[in-house]
């Protein structure tokens, strides 16, 4: 139970993927113009991140490490992520066309989202991840890895939804010509990051 709370606090707030670790900045800026698409993107990323951890963690721990071929992890991971995204896309198209219409356009973007590859790389670094959630490296297991992936994804969703709300407001305010678009979004993100800075002081 204590570990679960630690994972939530660490993954969502202290080590938030977007505003603290700068992972997944492209969708954070690209798909945060309105609330609905931001929520859709966030949930799609969360789903893929959870599934990625569920597959990459055992493959790394039980196949690559015993065979002593850990060094090809990047190639294996990117291959797995691309396959997961492709399979979700096909499954959605076949079984739930409504969900496919809502989420479909975000799915291809997720393959090259660094938050997904980032979480796969993060959960296999057992020393660092165990330190984050307050357990010893030997206690690290697949359950923690999947939970970390899930809550890191929810942290991403949380921030992208806040950002979409702020950007809807900013779109209606007068902004100087050179600050329009990307720079003002960055400055908005700067204020969100400042709010999250509080959690680092704890």
């Amino acid at each position: 139970m204590a570990e679960l709370i630690m994972i939530i606090v660490s993954a969502v707030f202290i080590k938030n993927f977007v505003v603290v670790q700068f992972l997944g900045i492209c969708p954070f800026l690209g798909v945060s113009k309105d609330f609905r698409s931001a929520l859709g993107m966030g949930l799609a990323v969360t789903f893929v991140m959870t599934l990625t951890c569920l597959i990459t963690y055992p493959i790394y721990t039980y196949i690559l490490v015993p065979l002593k071929i850990e060094f090809i992890e990047i190639i294996v991971f990117i291959f797995i992520i691309a396959s997961i995204v492709q399979m979700i896309e096909m499954a959605l198209k076949r079984f739930s066309p409504t969900l496919y219409n809502a989420m479909g356009i975000y799915l291809p973007l997720i393959t090259t989202n660094c938050a997904v590859l980032g979480v796969a790389e993060l959960v296999i670094d057992t020393v660092q991840i165990a330190d984050l959630i307050g357990i010893t490296a030997a206690q690290m297991n697949m359950g923690f890895a999947v939970l970390y992936g899930l809550f890191a994804g929810l942290g991403f969703t949380f921030v992208i939804v806040i950002m979409s709300g702020l950007r809807e407001k900013i779109a209606r305010t007068p902004v100087s010509k050179h600050l329009k678009g990307f720079p003002i979004s960055m400055i908005t993100a700067c204020f969100i990051a400042m709010a999250f800075y509080v959690f680092m002081l704890i």
């Binding site: 700068f22 670094d125 600050l179 720079p183 400042m194 800075y197």
Partner: protein
């Protein structure tokens, strides 16, 4: 020769990957706390960019266009793996400071964008040069931002401490967003000023005045002509 000059200018200034195209935002934000990190990341990306551009250009007639994106990603991932093994052995300090962001070069949009947009359509030499100059442009932007943040956030430059005055904000993650926004705004401002200056110069030439003529002089000349 003219082509090479254009590639060089494009990569470093007119379509600078960070300041103009706004690609590769994640490493830019994460690794500009210190100027040295900026150089390290920049050179790592340059290495992968040149290698992947050369290989993509070599194989551009072999790879079927339906599977080109997975093929490009596979090529990039291979070079990132090579780079990672090399850095781990040769430069362990740099390897540690790049940390998680080293494997993430695979999903850095600059590399895929150059493979898709340039190397898959151009001969090897040009592709290699494009990789080199895009890499230099990336390194330049990262180092500049790193130096700015290090100077204000830690009162130092390239690790040499200059004074005791520090604004912690610039070393924090909020400072990263702020600095990036500021740099893009200043770059766009400079670009529009240069474009304006060029327009005035063109008018001056049309009116057969000397190049440094001011707007008033041009107006006076135009009135006189009428």
């Amino acid at each position: 020769m003219k082509n090479i000059k254009k590639i060089a200018l494009d990569g470093v200034v007119t379509s600078n990957p960070v300041l103009k195209l706004v690609l590769g935002t994640c490493p830019t934000l994460a690794l500009t706390t210190l100027a040295m990190n900026g150089i390290g990341m920049g050179l790592a990306v340059t290495f992968v960019l040149i290698c992947s551009n050369v290989l993509v250009s070599l194989l551009r007639k072999v790879i079927p266009s339906q599977v080109r994106i997975p093929a490009f990603i596979l090529i990039i991932a291979t070079f990132v793996t090579i780079l990672r093994l090399l850095l781990d052995k040769l430069l362990p300090d740099l390897y540690a400071s790049l940390g998680l962001y080293l494997p993430l070069i695979v999903v850095n949009c600059i590399i895929l964008a150059r493979a898709e947009g340039f190397a898959s359509k151009n001969p090897i030499l040009y592709s290699a040069l494009d990789g080199l100059f895009m890499g230099i442009g990336f390194t330049f932007a990262l180092t500049l931002m790193g130096a700015f943040r290090e100077l204000l956030g830690a009162g130092a430059i390239f690790g040499v401490i200059l004074w005791d005055f520090k604004i912690e904000f610039f070393s924090s993650s909020a400072g990263a967003f702020f600095t990036f926004g500021l740099f893009i705004a200043v770059f766009s401002l400079m670009e529009s000023l240069i474009a304006k200056k060029k327009k005035i110069n063109d008018y001056a030439k049309l009116c057969k005045l000397k190049e440094s003529a001011s707007v008033e002089e041009i107006n006076a000349k135009l009135k006189g002509d009428k």
